[in-house]
Symmetry: C3
Subunit: 469 residues, 3 copies
């Protein structure tokens, strides 16, 4: 058995002088409240406040970072509880499989998050392995049965000040409203408007989605104008429920507006199932423009991420569904494709857009320079495949020169793994402290300036970028 | 009030052993003469030798690095003195606005340049802020009124051996000639041939530009052959005035030559205002090829930078003109598009081309390998959005492996902010010393070898790359 | 004369604490046997076991890394012995030219390899220079005349356990068979199936190549089906001769399969010399798909590298032939173009593919994420323009986060310079030790874990990735 004791100075620079500075900078923010303006936790989990089931369904099965790496190392997704039909996997067996492949996570950020959770939250002090799997499983079962491990108790323990969820515009937001109305829950949980399913009129299910949206908005979405009205109505409902932002993922950032008549024609063809591939793309780009226009009107912060191929492996999609680890990065780009939106709304005081990428070459080439001119553009934190200490360091170095720290978004955890939220924010705070310490020890910043930046990065900066108030 | 005292070892490595090496390497070159082969200072400023007006018009308004970042942080360009119509901004108010937003520059290279100038040149010892703005403004006013702060005195104080300006081919170079003829000015100020305005026959003003060029060259540019003759004549005039290089910026590096008849046809259509977008691109690519051919003939070093979208934000262009911070990087590329030029002139002894980029992914993928094979190709220094210590380190690491230090260009400051020239070269010398020290302390170079490289980087290498003699 | 004494700790971190860790990690693997699963040494050299001729023909003329950099610094390839017609160059003169330009290699990995070879293998203790050229040439002549410097003796001295060559499918593998049958040679030398010359039906020599292939396979390749059969037959022969892998280089990674009838039609047009450029591309992409299908059938590991423009400079190709330094990187990409192969074979247990690139932006954007989901995909080591300590560090940092160390390929030397093999593997081991030490000193790995990874990187990992057994 190998012990599990995360070092208190992990991720801070090795050099003693730099570490001392980094440690002080980290201490400034280590216990600061968590602002989580972009994530995928379900509000209903907090509303229901039921105990979590077991270690596997909490830490393994729903986390595509974990299942992806195990799959890459030869573990069939069936063994991780992901098959949608047939008998469910035995959680203990899933956990044993996970523990047997613990080495797959060595030197990855996933390992950092898991170790921190196991140790800090569940008081596990041995590394997962074949021989320790059952004991750890049982230890987590014991903890999860305790009231202190229910979602609301953890929410408070984690020090979460704001948690933004991600929600379909057709969602009635009843969970959010109920939570807000519940005097026994003091947390702030806000919805995020995610209209992706309405963007592609050639996609299966698009027309059905329109129906649901129309019903929720009480607006006829049979025309394009009707769809826009429905979206506007739902944005207002999201804002009323505390939402401050939208989130949109697109294959590319193209946003050329169409004539209204063309958009209406494609909309009709989408309903009739006769839309061409090229028209579907044109429609999506127009709708992205309209969403920006709505943000300029209502002030909801627009989050945009372009350049991911969703469900890259058809057979896995067929057997296991989406979000199973094979959404994979493609070449990105913003400067050219996003120009129509920025030409029109780039200097609007109400418009605000946060740009995320999985293509690091954009950091210094596009995202830093765009955020370094347009007052409306913020450089989104390293996201998804880039949410690691090494990538955070590359991002800071590449983006700050052009945009300054004030035009970055602050960390986002982007996770559906609720218990990993503190670990992810902690990693970010450590990585930023390491970056700032290096600027201090090379006399590019005074330590006072660095401490000020460290504090702003976890508070003022995300609060401003996401209009959290 | 926070004091402003740039640390003498800033940008050098934090580790004591590495810093000692870096300090020695830096000391080798800290006071070496400045070769500035690529910049945007106006020769007439040195000819006239008038006092500078005030802090704002010297350090803020004309520097798009500064105004860009302030604009990104929410300051309207009006408040920075950039509006072209209406009443001019009050310089003191501009300066106050700048000082109030000093934090926008934290951790950026702009801050480094500004601090160095304020401290080393103007003896300012407090950080700009709302409370210090007026005192600093007055202190600069005092200094700028002194003879020692006139352009020629500063030129000498800065230790500038060569300063290359950037000039339209139609420029009569009278300022350069007068300076060269003035026995009281011993500096070397040479023009650089920048033919960009003749490349796009679909651009407004292209035909008018041809007229001016034709007049200056005394050659009829009504035909394409005439334009080429006019350009050749002006290149000869630039060379006679001491010029050693040309500079060209293009949206992409395509350079497929056309048949002469096609080029003539497009030229005529350009004059008639009927040229198509595709033909305009073909014309520009042909002309780029012809410019390379001229360089192979006359030996003027060709500088090329591809991949920037100029005037990204139309409304800002309309209100404030070009060079106001929204020229923004696009995806770059040289290996494939530049092939026609390299096929034809790549091993010519007279041809020489320096490749710049704002797309860092080109450093190891294209620019290093091209400079590592073609004797005519030099890897241009980190430029524009990349002229920071962090990007310089990435460039050195990415390019040297493939090309060796001998095929790099030496630092270029690329600035229209005259007083920032020493600070920019100083940053480069420090960053290179830091890079070399790291190679020394990991035993990849001896300290003697590193010192030799440090000296070559500020002398022999730019002298050779730009044929400064 | 400057002495040549490579430091025992070169490439290890400068910081004393990190260096101590790195030194221990390096010591774990410094003398481990060499697995060389991807290279370009000729098996016949080992079969014949003749003495090497001289320093120039051993270290300069055949190594395009060396001649490329000298050419970039102004040395005509004629002077390096590369001209294909006319009188051969005098080896001593070639060597003098090389030594006179020794500074061209400063701070490049080529210098590291050459120094290590000269010092460790040939006991040279002075730096090459004009004044030492003759003495070094003579010292190498003395050593090369000794039996201990014949290829087989060096093979053993180098500690090579497996050496994979690269071979045309039409190669009869007689050298491999003779070596395997020779009881006096105990090394393992295995062929690698490199079918590149059959991929482009528009290339000169394609039809002749088919004839040779048909003859070697005893299968009629006059039809596309026949070509596939011939390739299958030769793959079986390669496997029988110990081969475990194939290697394919393509301009892009496109692999859309064609209808059989279309493929047959293009094949016929290729034979008739009437194939269009578009059809040639379609054919190549189909054949890449078929090669993947064969790998899924026979289990030979597929190595793929896309995105290099071969023979960029036509005049150099005409005078000096291929592999003379002007194969130059273009923009790469795998996520999108490789999808057909991965859709079909990505989760096949027999299929395995190693992805190489010269475009670093792919490391974190595509190669890491692909290897981090598909069990069949391995992230190929930094290759060609990227096989330097700095690029290795960037690769480790960029790929590991997404894929884990277990899905990387292990180092490949990719060299035709036989004597550089130990130096290249040594560089890799040092660079990996430096990377791991940094993870240890920032508490991301325990030293035990790092030592385990160091050992796996030179043994289990390449053994698994290349199915070396």
């Amino acid at each position: 058995m190998t012990s599990l004791h995360p070092h208190p100075d992990r991720l801070l620079p090795a050099d003693p002088a730099a570490r001392a500075v980094a440690r002080r900078l980290y201490d400034e923010v280590a216990s600061a409240p968590i602002l989580s303006p972009h994530g995928h936790v379900d509000a209903r989990m907090l509303l229901d406040d039921e105990p979590f089931d077991d270690a596997a369904s909490l830490l393994v099965t729903p986390d595509h970072y974990v299942t992806r790496l195990l799959h890459a190392h030869g573990v069939a997704l069936d063994r991780l509880g992901l098959r949608r039909d047939g008998a469910p996997a035995d959680p203990r067996e899933v956990w044993r499989t996970f523990c047997a492949h613990w080495d797959a996570f060595l030197a990855t950020p996933v390992r950092f998050w898991l170790e921190t959770q196991l140790h800090d939250l569940f008081e596990v002090d041995v590394q997962p392995s074949t021989s320790t799997a059952d004991a750890i499983f049982d230890q987590l079962a014991d903890r999860l049965a305790r009231p202190a491990y229910r979602p609301r108790a953890l929410f408070e323990r984690f020090g979460i000040e704001v948690l933004a969820t991600t929600d379909d515009p057709a969602d009635d937001l009843s969970a959010h409203r109920a939570l807000a109305a519940d005097p026994s829950f003091r947390g702030r949980v806000v919805p995020t408007f995610r209209p992706d399913r309405y963007l592609d009129p050639a996609a299966p299910g698009w027309a059905n989605g329109l129906d649901r949206l129309a019903a929720s908005a009480d607006v006829d979405a049979g025309t394009y104008a009707g769809l826009l009205d429905a979206l506007r109505a739902r944005r207002a409902a999201f804002a009323a429920a505390g939402g401050t932002a939208t989130d949109t993922g697109v294959p590319d950032a193209g946003c050329e507006p169409l004539d209204a008549a063309d958009a209406e024609r494609i909309h009709r063809e989408g309903l009739a199932g006769t839309v061409s591939a090229a028209d579907a793309v044109a429609y999506r780009r127009d709708l992205l423009f309209r969403l920006a226009e709505m943000s300029a009107d209502d002030g909801l912060v627009m989050q945009l991420h372009a350049g991911v191929i969703r469900n890259h492996h058809g057979p896995t999609l067929a057997s296991y569904g989406p979000d199973t680890g094979h959404d994979l990065p493609d070449v990105g780009g913003y400067t050219r494709p996003l120009r129509p939106i920025l030409e029109r709304f780039g200097t609007s005081e109400t418009f605000r857009i946060v740009l995320f990428t999985t293509d690091e070459s954009l950091f210094s080439r596009e995202i830093g320079p765009l955020a370094g001119f347009y007052p409306s553009v913020f450089a989104g934190a390293p996201w998804w495949f880039l949410d690691s200490p090494a990538a955070i360091a590359r991002y800071r170095s590449a983006v700050t020169d052009s945009a300054g720290v004030g035009k970055t978004s602050g960390f986002i955890d982007d996770t559906r793994a609720f218990c990993s939220i503190p670990a992810r924010h902690d990693m970010s705070r450590r990585a930023d402290a390491a970056w700032l310490a290096q600027l201090v020890t090379t006399h590019q910043l005074s330590e006072d300036e660095a401490a000020g930046i460290a504090r702003r990065l976890v508070d003022e900066i995300p609060r401003s970028a996401f209009r959290l108030g």
